[in-house]
């Protein structure tokens, strides 16, 4: 009985009193069918255990004739995935909200309810999550009978002049934790009690393109390139996770050389993504020189990616069943030289981030998240590892070539912004080590295997470690050449809820850097979270009033001491 089977058995045993039926769709994954009313009890037992963390909530429309909508709650404990399946009638679909037990689950529920029209009982009142403000009522995009034309008829009303005036308190400005230099529009409201934040909410939806619905209208091959562009900064890991899922469904074994090249591109992408964030984080703190130098040195890895694949950002290295290109001797030498240069520069930046006085006062002891909080709230990736939670899918459930080229975990215990900077830079030393090992002993073998255009019926969960954390793909095939349903839960979605819970109770003046700390990627997911508001009589502040309040607060504090 391996660790995984152990964990699954423990999980199934915990849920025994409410189980209707259990089945094992694939190795390492067990599903338990529940009735809707037992859902809260089951989730509570798993949470109290604690049996792993909630990794995703997926909604499936079983079709107009079946007349039912199925909601899947997937929990992960290292390599073991336990699924709770709940069915609810299609016309009056409703599910109990597990928000009180797991605050970070709120926006996964919000997404499911907005897309499938499932009424989540017990959720606090909330505005629109992804869909546009002027999206017609009652149109649920992910339902099978949704017609894009009908939604398109209600063109967004001509620019309503009074729009800005209506919301005197709120002022829509492109600020906040999104990449400030990228100026992705977002709109943030903080409810404040004294100088402590009681609730934080973000209204995004500006980068929501409706990708999940579009995947159902395209063939498996076309979906590969659509899903690669969910996010431009971690494009390879999206395509790779999707390919691994489809290959699992088709029962195809990818040759070892292709797996090794996929892993090589994934690690090079991690180097480019973390260096990008190091620069943008410094730019947010006004340290433009570090931004310029970090991005100058990042060009080394961008050149490597371009010489290997032909494009700096969307490498399109993957094919269903393998990779497109090979790594020649010339490229091996270039990768090794590049890795040495990067290693030297990264040691320098680690030194700058940990000693530069003007940078330390913006990162030390700010936005701290304890290990227990990180564990329960389901944080993933470097944000979790900076709080001492060793959650790294390359170790927990090794995929592609990681079993042969293991990764050593990089964990810090500080939990504050500084720890997140340090973990990300030290993680890169580990990535460069794996890149050198991969490139020096690439296994022989061909590059790709043919995959049929029609994928056999079935469903699978495919996960991997993206630069920002655990990436979750749910892929369901009905046996046709087009997928039945593809659900993507991106790492920033998981970290959002956790970090915004730690923002509650945080100082006002430190909020911008705290939110930038999780390296949120807006186009990865367009999410919003609404949290519990304790104090009544809360006042809604706009971002500048918050910022100005931060100034006065610190000044009277400094003059008082």
């Amino acid at each position: 009985m391996t660790v995984t089977e152990d964990a699954l058995a423990k999980g199934v045993e915990l849920l025994k009193p409410w189980t209707e039926e259990t089945n094992v769709p694939e190795k390492g994954r067990t599903d338990v069918i529940l009735r809707p009313e037992n859902l809260l009890a089951a989730v509570d037992v798993l949470h109290r255990e604690p049996w792993g963390h909630l990794t995703s909530i997926t909604g499936l429309d079983l079709g107009v004739d079946a007349g039912e909508i199925e909601v899947l709650y997937h929990f992960r404990r290292q390599a073991a995935v336990l699924g709770l399946r709940v069915r609810t009638p299609r016309d009056a679909a409703s599910v109990a909200s597990i928000w009180d037990i797991l605050p970070s689950a709120s926006f996964m529920e919000r997404e499911m309810s907005e897309m499938l029209g499932v009424d989540v009982v017990g959720m606090p009142p909330h505005g629109r999550l992804f869909l546009a403000d002027d999206w017609p009522e009652g149109a649920y995009p992910l339902r099978k009978d949704f017609s894009p034309e009908e939604a398109a008829q209600q063109r967004p009303a001509e620019d309503r002049p009074g729009d800005a005036a209506e919301k005197p308190q709120r002022f829509i400005i492109p600020i906040g934790p999104q990449h400030p230099a990228l100026k992705e529009p977002g709109h943030f409201e903080f409810c404040v009690d004294g100088e402590i934040i009681t609730s934080a909410s973000a209204r995004l939806g500006y980068a929501h393109r409706g990708i999940e619905k579009a995947t159902e209208a395209r063939t498996w091959v076309q979906d590969l390139y659509l899903l690669e562009r969910v996010c431009g900064i971690c494009s390879h890991i999206h395509a790779m996770t999707y390919c691994q899922g489809v290959e699992k469904l088709a029962g195809i074994e990818v040759p070892p050389r292709a797996r090794a090249i996929r892993t090589l591109m994934a690690e090079l992408e991690r180097v480019h993504s973390h260096m990008l964030w190091l620069g943008v984080g410094a730019h947010e703190a006004g340290f433009d020189t570090l931004f310029m130098y970090a991005w100058r040195d990042r060009e080394t890895v961008m050149d490597l990616l371009e010489s290997l694949s032909g494009n700096r950002v969307n490498y399109s290295a993957n094919l269903l069943g393998g990779v497109k290109f090979d790594v020649g001797d010339g490229q091996i030498k270039a990768v090794l030289d590049g890795a040495d240069i990067l290693e030297k520069r990264l040691h320098h930046y680690l030194d700058v981030a940990t000693t530069d006085e003007s940078f330390l006062i913006r990162t030390q002891g700010i936005g701290t998240m304890t290990q227990q909080q990180a564990e329960v709230l389901g944080t993933v990736g470097p944000t979790a590892r900076a709080s001492g939670v060793t959650r790294d899918l390359r170790l927990d459930a090794p995929y592609a070539a990681y079993p042969d080229f293991p990764v050593k975990p990089v964990v810090a215990s500080g939990g504050d912004l500084l720890a997140r900077f340090v973990v990300r830079i030290e993680e890169l030393f580990e990535s460069l080590r794996v890149v050198r090992a991969l490139v020096q002993n690439l296994p022989e073998g061909d590059l790709a295997v043919r995959v049929p255009t029609k994928i056999p019926e079935g469903e699978t969960v495919s996960c991997s470690e993206a630069p920002r954390g655990e990436l979750y793909y749910y892929i369901e095939s009905g046996g046709a050449d087009k997928p039945e349903r593809i659900k993507v839960r991106t790492p920033t979605l998981a970290n959002w809820g956790a970090v915004l819970s730690t923002v509650v109770g945080c100082q006002l003046a430190d909020v911008p850097m705290v939110l930038a700390g999780i390296d949120p990627c807006f186009s990865c997911n367009d999410r919003m979270v609404r949290l519990r508001t304790e104090s009544s009589g809360r006042r809604l502040w706009s971002w500048e009033e918050l910022r100005r309040y931060g100034i006065e607060y610190y000044r009277c504090k400094t003059s008082a001491t």
Partner: protein
């Protein structure tokens, strides 16, 4: 950072003066799609697999191999899926033509094929929507 900054002051900046000096591009760079008329057998696999519906094949005469390939540069993702789907290797991505910017959309609508065929296609299907994807 002081050491960095001072060494940078005395060294030459790393800036490449792009439009005036050009650096060599990597050989695998994925630029504009090039269609080779003789190799093409008109199977349309590339049109079916293109994720952005950027290719559109007009088959005038299959036996005489008279085809016209309409290529929309603005829709293209330069992902090279068509080069892998084509059984005859008729499509390839040039690594020289990647400066494709233009002040209007006309240059993005390219018709590969014999002039006579292209005129026929233009005349024949000016209005019809593309047969692609």
């Amino acid at each position: 950072m002081l050491r960095d900054v001072l060494t940078a002051l005395v060294h030459h900046p790393v800036t490449e003066r792009y439009p005036f000096e050009r650096q060599p591009v990597p050989s695998r760079l994925r630029g504009k799609v090039i269609w080779d008329a003789d190799k093409c057998i008109g199977c349309g696999l590339c049109v079916k697999n293109c994720p952005a519906e950027a290719l559109e094949l007009h088959v005038l005469d299959k036996k005489a191999k008279r085809f016209v390939m309409r290529y929309r540069v603005d829709r293209c993702l330069f992902c090279a899926q068509c080069t892998y789907s084509c059984p005859r290797g008729a499509l390839s991505l040039s690594n020289q033509e990647w400066e494709l910017a233009a002040l209007s959309k006309e240059p993005f609508d390219i018709y590969y094929g014999e002039d006579a065929d292209v005129q026929a296609v233009l005349a024949g299907t000016t209005g019809s929507d593309d047969q692609g994807g």
